[in-house]
C-alpha cells in the first residue's frame, strides 16, 4: 500500500463525510429545534434526486438540475410541513414516527407512479468530468472535490446563519425554550416552516449531488437516512457543529475501515477470508464508534448535558 492510496482514501472519507453533513444538518436542526423525528427526510433526498433527473432529461443541464433539486425539495418540504407535520409538534414521538413513516411509503409510491421503477439517468457535467492531480502523484475525481467544496460552503453558510444572524438567534432560542420565544413575539410557526424548508432543501441538494454519481431510484434515501440518524446521535441532537464533526468522523472511519481492516486481516489469514470478515467488520465499524461515543458522552459530542 502506498501513501498516495491512503491519502486518496482519506479524501474519499472526507467527501463521504461532507455528503452526510448535508443530510444530517437538516435532520439535526429539525430534531433539535422542533423536537420532531422526521423519518421522511430520506424521501426529500429522493425527491431532490428525481427532480434533478427530470430537469436534466428536459434541459440537459447539470446546473439547472441542481437548482431544481433543492428548490423542489424545499417546496415539497414546506407543503408537507404546512399540511401534515405542523399537527405533530405537540404529539409524542411515536405518532411522529408513524406519520413520517407513512410519508416514506407515500412518497416512494408517488415517485414510482410518476417515474416508474427503473433507475433514471443523471450525469456529471463536462467541466467536472475526470480527475485532477492535486499533489504530485495524487489524482482525485473533480466531481468528488466539487462535493467537498459544496459541503464546505453549506457548512460555512449554516454556521453564519446560526451564529451571526437574527434568525439564528431565534433558532437557538427556540431550541432552549419554545414557549418563551413565542411569548416574546416571534412567530414560531413561521420559523418552523422556514427551518423545515431549509432542511428539505439541503436533503434535496444532497440527493442530486449523490444521484449524479450513483443511481437515481426509488428507495435511495433510506440507507442514507439511517447513517444520518447515527450522525446526529453521535454529534449531539440539535447541534450543527456536532453534526459537522460527526459527519466527517463517520465518513472517514467508515471509508478507511472498509479499506484498512481487510488489508490488516490479510496478514493473518488468506485473502478471501480476510475480505469477507473485513468487510463485515468494516460495515459494523460506525455503529461500534457510536456505541463507544455514547458510553463516554451519553448526549453525544456536542449535545446538551442532561440535568
Amino acid at each position: 500500500m502506498t501513501a498516495e492510496l491512503l491519502i486518496e482514501q482519506f479524501l474519499n472519507g472526507l467527501q463521504f463525510g461532507f455528503m452526510l453533513f448535508l443530510m444530517s444538518a437538516g435532520l439535526t436542526l429539525i430534531f433539535g429545534v422542533m423536537g420532531l423525528i422526521n423519518l421522511a427526510h430520506g424521501s426529500l433526498y429522493m425527491i431532490g434526486a428525481f427532480s434533478a433527473a427530470a430537469t436534466f432529461a428536459f434541459f440537459n443541464s447539470f446546473w439547472l438540475s441542481l437548482l431544481a433539486s433543492f428548490s423542489c425539495a424545499a417546496i415539497v418540504g414546506i407543503i408537507v410541513e404546512k399540511t401534515i407535520i405542523r399537527k405533530l409538534y405537540n404529539r409524542d414521538h411515536l405518532d411522529q414516527v408513524l406519520v413520517t413513516f407513512a410519508l416514506i411509503l407515500f412518497f416512494s409510491e408517488l415517485v414510482r407512479w410518476i417515474f416508474g421503477a427503473f433507475p433514471l439517468y443523471l450525469d456529471v457535467p463536462e467541466l467536472l468530468n475526470g480527475s485532477i492531480e492535486i499533489f504530485s502523484g495524487i489524482y482525485y475525481s473533480k466531481y468528488r472535490l466539487f462535493i467537498i467544496f459544496v459541503g464546505l460552503i453549506i457548512a460555512i453558510f449554516l454556521f453564519f446563519l446560526i451564529g451571526k444572524t437574527n434568525l439564528g438567534i431565534q433558532i437557538r432560542a427556540g431550541q432552549h425554550d419554545r414557549e418563551m420565544i413565542s411569548a416574546l413575539g416571534v412567530d414560531i410557526s413561521k420559523l418552523y416552516t422556514l427551518l423545515f424548508g431549509v432542511g428539505a432543501a439541503l436533503a434535496g441538494l444532497a440527493g442530486a449531488l449523490i444521484g449524479t454519481i450513483q443511481s437515481v431510484e426509488v428507495g435511495m434515501g433510506e440507507p442514507i437516512l439511517i447513517l444520518a440518524f447515527v450522525i446526529i446521535v453521535i454529534g449531539g441532537i440539535g447541534s450543527i457543529k456536532g453534526a459537522f464533526i460527526a459527519s466527517l468522523l463517520v465518513g472517514v472511519v467508515d471509508t478507511l475501515g472498509r479499506f484498512l481492516i481487510p488489508w490488516v486481516l490479510q496478514t493473518v489469514t488468506n485473502p478471501s477470508d480476510a475480505m469477507s470478515i473485513g468487510s463485515a467488520i468494516g460495515s459494523m465499524l460506525i455503529y461500534i464508534l457510536m456505541a463507544i461515543i455514547l458510553i463516554l458522552k451519553p448526549t453525544g459530542l456536542y449535545g446538551k448535558q442532561l440535568s
Binding site: R112, S131, S141, I213, S215, P262, S276, S279
Partner: protein
C-alpha cells in the same frame, strides 16, 4: 422503532392479502422485489411471467412484494403456503432471500421454480427434487466471464462483488475459469452505491482488467463512478450490470463493454422473437434478461401443466424435468440437479439509434452445466 415498523407492515399485509376459493386451478405464489432498491428486477420477472401465463385460464397468480428483506420473504412464503395454499412458488430475485425461503417451501411439498437466484448451496448438497432453477446456477455467467477474460488475453484482473451468497458464487465462478493472476479481490456491502474506496484500490493495483458483479443500482453507481474517475482499464462482467433495465441509467459509460449472458434480445429463434415483440407491445419497453427468465418460468409451468396435474407430484415433477417448451434461449434442458444446461453468450453494449442495448458477439460457453452436479444426490 422497528417494532412499530413491523406492526405497520403487518397491518399493510393484512389488507393486501386476498382470499381465493377456487380449488381446481393451479395456484402460483410469486414473491418478488417490487419496491425499494432492486425493484426493477422483480418487476421485470413479474411482467415476463405474467406475459407467459396471461392466456392460461388455469393458472392463478398471487403476487407479493418482499422488499428485498429475507424476514418479509419468509413471512410471505408461510402465508402463501398455509393460508393461500399455493401449489408452486416462484419469483425470488436475491440469493439470500432464496436461501431463507426455498428449503422450507420444498420440504413442505411445494414446487419452487426459481426465475433468478441460483445459489450454489441449492445446487449442490442442498438440492431438492421439487426445486427447479429456470435461470442459471449463480456461478454460470461469471464462469463465462472468466473464460472470456482468458480469451481476450487478460492476465491480471481485479475482481469485486457484494458480500452475500450470489456475490461469493460470482467470484468463485470467475476464478474457476480464469487462468491469470488476481490483482485484487474485494467484497463490497450489499446495497452499497459509492465505490470511491474500491476504485482507488483498482487504480493503485496495476490490474489490466476489472471483473465486477454488482446487480441493479449497485452496478449503475459503480460504472458511472468508474467512467468518471478516468481509469481506462477495461471492465468485463455478467449481464446484470449491463441489462436493458439499467443501461439507460448507466449511459454511455457502458458503451462497448463485453458482458456475459444466457439470453439476449437478438437471439435468433422463434420463441424469442415472439417474446421480444409481445413484451414491447404489452409494456412499452424493451425486455431485460430478468423478463426473459420470468417468461421462461411461466412457459415451463404451462408445459408441465399440459402433461400432468400438479396433484400428481411425481408426474408433474417429471413433466417439469423434461422442460418441453420453446425457451427464449433456444436450446434448454435441465441437468440432474435441476439447473439449466445452456449456452452462455458474450454480448457487447451497443447503441441502436439512441437506445443502448446489447448484441451477441460470440458464444462464451457451449451447453454449459454447473459445477455442483456431482454434489447433489437426488
Amino acid at each position: 422503532m422497528f417494532k412499530i415498523i413491523n406492526l405497520v407492515l403487518s397491518i399493510v399485509l393484512l389488507f393486501t392479502s386476498s382470499a381465493f376459493a377456487d380449488g381446481h386451478k393451479l395456484k402460483v405464489g410469486m414473491i418478488t422485489t417490487l419496491s425499494g432498491g432492486g425493484s426493477g428486477l422483480g418487476i421485470d420477472v413479474r411482467d415476463g411471467f405474467m406475459l407467459a401465463v396471461r392466456s392460461s385460464k388455469d393458472i392463478e397468480v398471487v403476487i407479493e412484494d418482499d422488499q428485498r428483506k429475507p424476514d418479509i420473504a419468509v413471512q410471505l412464503a408461510d402465508k402463501m403456503i398455509q393460508s393461500e395454499k399455493v401449489d408452486v412458488l416462484t419469483g425470488i430475485i436475491w440469493s439470500n432471500l432464496a436461501m431463507a425461503v426455498v428449503p422450507a417451501a420444498v420440504n413442505q411439498g411445494k414446487f419452487y421454480l426459481s426465475p433468478n437466484a441460483g445459489p450454489s448451496a441449492l445446487a449442490g448438497k442442498g438440492c431438492h427434487e421439487n426445486y427447479f432453477n429456470v435461470a442459471w446456477q449463480n456461478d454460470n455467467l461469471h464462469e463465462a466471464a472468466g473464460g472470456h477474460a482468458n480469451s481476450t488475453g487478460f492476465k491480471n484482473t481485479f475482481i469485486l462483488a457484494p458480500n452475500y451468497p450470489a456475490g461469493k458464487d460470482a467470484l468463485t465462478g470467475f476464478k474457476r475459469y480464469f487462468k491469470g493472476n488476481l490483482a485484487g479481490e474485494i467484497y463490497t456491502k450489499l446495497g452499497q452505491t459509492d465505490y470511491a474506496v474500491e476504485i482507488a484500490q483498482i487504480r493503485a493495483s496495476n490490474a489490466d482488467s476489472v471483473f465486477f458483479f454488482l446487480p441493479g443500482g449497485m452496478g449503475i453507481g459503480f460504472m458511472k463512478q468508474y467512467a468518471q474517475s478516468g481509469i481506462e482499464i477495461p471492465v468485463v462482467g455478467p449481464a446484470f450490470s449491463f441489462d436493458q433495465g439499467i443501461l439507460k441509467a448507466v449511459g454511455d459509460a457502458a458503451l462497448g463493454v463485453k458482458n456475459t449472458s444466457q439470453w439476449s434480445k437478438d437471439l435468433d429463434n422463434k420463441a424469442n422473437k415472439k417474446f421480444v415483440s409481445d413484451f414491447q407491445n404489452e409494456y412499452g419497453r424493451l425486455p431485460s434478461l430478468y423478463a426473459s427468465q420470468g417468461y421462461d418460468t411461466g412457459r415451463l409451468l404451462i408445459s408441465a401443466m399440459a402433461k400432468a396435474s400438479v396433484n400428481d407430484m411425481e408426474a408433474f415433477r417429471d413433466a417439469l424435468r423434461s422442460a418441453d417448451f420453446d425457451s427464449t434461449r433456444g436450446q434448454f434442458r435441465f441437468s440432474s440437479n435441476h439447473h439449466p444446461i445452456q449456452n452462455i453468450y458474450v454480448r457487447e453494449v451497443i447503441k441502436e439509434g439512441d437506445t443502448l442495448t446489447n448484441k451477441i458477439v460470440s458464444v462464451g460457453l457451449k451447453d454449459h452445466s454447473n459445477a455442483y452436479v456431482d454434489q447433489c444426490s437426488m
